[in-house]
């Protein structure tokens, strides 16, 4: 990243005509960029609604520090991660028959969401300001060969359990965490269940009864638009 300006791309959704700009959130992004400099990789604002800021992994702990003590985001909402790998088991629910026998296919290309991303695993956290009622979603890319990140527990006490959950569910290690042990899973559990390549065994060993072929209503076009009564498959 050469400079703060070059590294920051602000994309704005233009679908909604009313609030095209959001001064409060733009100001917020500017303040974060001012405090963290090159560490802010990208940001995304949905005017009047929400803001996403992606920072580098090295600045992850500093971001929490800045958010809480300099920007007033005192409320810790949650911390988790996203595995952007498309599921190698296909899209089960899109098929009309269950894919019990399907072999894992080669993963398709990774497409990341708001504020972008370069790697498979992305940290996801949200902090909130109870005074101004603004929330911000923070993201950070993790390199595939080194799934570690600095801990937030020094800044937000609540990050303790959230990081333990993220550690066992995604296999992301938080350096400096005081007590990184299993929270939900039994101690001998192997694998990281929320990774996309971890099979959902209940789905693999038994046919799924929930696949319902939605029949067409009379006088209905093929595009699936209909009177909005019952929506989609009944469970």
């Amino acid at each position: 990243m050469s400079s703060a300006d070059a590294g920051t791309e602000t994309t704005e959704a233009t679908e909604t005509p009313e609030p095209v700009t959001d001064e409060r959130r733009e100001h917020l992004v500017a303040r974060v960029t001012e405090a963290l400099g090159d560490a802010v990789v990208a940001s995304h604002i949905r005017p009047g609604d929400d803001v996403w800021i992606r920072v580098t992994r090295d600045a992850w702990a500093e971001t929490a520090e800045v958010a809480r003590h300099r920007l007033g985001f005192s409320f810790f909402d949650f911390l988790s991660a996203i595995d952007w790998l498309p599921s190698p088991f296909g899209r089960d629910m899109d098929a009309q028959e269950d894919l019990v026998d399907a072999e894992p296919s080669t993963p398709a290309e990774i497409v990341t969401g708001y504020a972008g991303g370069d790697t498979r695993f992305q940290l996801l956290a949200r902090v909130y300001d109870v005074e101004s009622h603004l929330g911000v979603t923070l993201k950070a890319d993790l390199p595939d060969d080194d799934l570690t990140a600095p801990t937030w527990t020094a800044t937000f006490l609540g990050a303790d359990w959230h990081e333990r959950e993220t550690w066992e569910m995604f296999g992301i290690t938080f350096t400096g965490h005081p007590h990184l042990v299993h929270l939900y899973l039994p101690g001998a559990f192997e694998g990281n269940p929320l990774r996309k390549d971890f099979p959902l065994l209940a789905r693999r060993v038994k046919p799924w009864p929930g696949i319902v072929d939605v029949e067409q209503m009379p006088n209905e076009d093929d595009d699936g638009e209909g009177a909005g009564d019952e929506s989609g498959g009944a469970a």
Partner: protein, 391 residues
């Protein structure tokens, strides 16, 4: 597909989840007290391991996970309408309130909005869930402290609320009634007058609770000054709802940043806070919350607009690509869903932010140095639903 041995082992290990022992608690000096996973004071299967020095708690750690159902993973293989069936079971006392933020997140991504009538009825049912949830808290707190009477009163009057939920939705506990773009059905005949009467019952329960419990000397001795959580600690732990307001933070998502799709802007009510941050304050704030909630319901019942209850949405719901986080003020606190959609029938990732998870993570902090009986009152006053911790 064939499974590898390690995958089979992982499955077996998950099935036999109960072999976990925290060896570090077994020390030379002091005593380790294990409460749960099946203990009456834990509303489910929360295990609490406390290391004691005499009667005082040196360290106390909750061990959740005995009921973890992996909803975040299961959501990834269910269509958007099917997800509501699952998430009903997160906080099972206020089920309808669980559905709302997820539906609102999907509505936000799809850019549909429920018609005004649906928004108002949705808000009424949301508040009825709150009443059904917190009225159980009022009774349960009495039971925890050895006063069974108020428990019976609460269960008696809670029934009137549940009856109204059942009459409208068909389900007492798991309504599964909210839909993307509106509601499943309209209200039945005579429901409005009957709900007004139920609100009257709940208000009487509040008065009884105030007289029987809040004014009680023993209750005061057991809760005042016990389990004090200062505001900055509560915020840092991400505690929300009445627990946070009892620490003096004036923040309620119904008033501050209510997502579109709910009709809280049409009603007049008050958000109560308490400066003390102790068990008594948490109880008191919840009692006021019930009272205000009945006011909201009464006002909304008299102003339900006419019109359709469903917006025009496709029958096969595909949610456009995008990310959205929507949170609402649920009975237990802030409940939110971070939904990542890739334009499919199923969500790509759903992060469930449940209130009890954050509310209970404060327990190791707040129980340091307290006496064993106070652990019970602190847990009861923090008020959690295990399904809301374990998801």
């Amino acid at each position: 597909m064939t499974l590898t041995d390690s995958q089979k082992m992982a499955y077996v290990a998950a099935q036999a989840a109960d072999a976990r022992v925290n060896l570090q608690f077994e020390t030379e000096d002091g005593m380790t007290l294990n409460m749960g996973p099946q203990h009456p004071a834990t509303h489910g299967t929360l295990r609490i391991v406390a290391q004691l020095d005499g009667e005082q708690v040196v360290r106390c750690e909750p061990i959740p996970g005995y009921m973890h159902r992996g909803y975040e993973k299961l959501c990834e293989v269910r269509t958007y309408p099917q997800v509501t069936t699952l998430i009903n079971r997160i906080d099972w006392l206020g089920s309808f309130a669980n559905e709302v933020p997820f539906i609102l997140a999907a509505e936000k991504l799809m850019e549909v909005e429920a018609p005004p009538r649906a928004q108002v009825i949705r808000t009424i049912l949301f508040e009825l869930s709150r009443l059904g949830n917190i009225s159980l808290f009022l009774g349960d707190l009495g039971i925890q402290l050895g006063g069974l009477t108020i428990g019976f009163y609460a269960f008696r009057d809670r029934e009137f609320v549940l009856n109204q939920i059942e009459a409208a939705t068909g389900g007492r506990f798991h309504p599964n009634f909210d839909r993307i773009g509106g509601l499943k059905d309209d209200l039945p005949k005579g429901w409005i007058a009957e709900t007004h009467r139920a609100m009257e019952r709940v208000r009487r329960l509040c008065d009884e609770f105030e007289e029987l419990v809040l004014g009680n000397e023993i209750f005061g001795a057991r809760t005042r000054g016990i389990g004090v959580i200062p505001a900055d600690v509560a915020l840092s732990y991400g505690m929300s709802g009445a627990n946070l307001r009892a620490s003096g933070v004036d923040w309620d998502l119904r008033r501050d940043g209510c997502p579109p799709g709910l009709a809280y802007d049409q009603v007049d009510w008050k958000v109560w806070t308490h400066p003390d941050g102790d068990s008594f304050a948490r109880t008191w704030v919840r009692l006021q919350e019930v009272r205000e909630s009945t006011r909201i319901v009464d006002q909304l019942l008299d102003s339900i607009p006419s019109g359709p209850i469903m917006a025009k949405v496709p029958r096969i719901i595909k949610v456009p690509e995008g990310e959205a986080y929507v949170a609402t003020e649920n009975p237990l606190g802030e409940m939110g869903y971070y939904v990542v959609s890739k334009g499919d029938l199923v969500p790509f990732r759903v992060k469930i932010r449940s209130a009890s998870f954050n509310n209970i993570s404060v327990v190791p902090w707040v129980t340091r140095g307290v006496f064993v009986p106070d652990v019970i009152t602190i847990l009861a006053s923090l008020y959690f639903i295990l399904g809301d911790i374990d998801r």
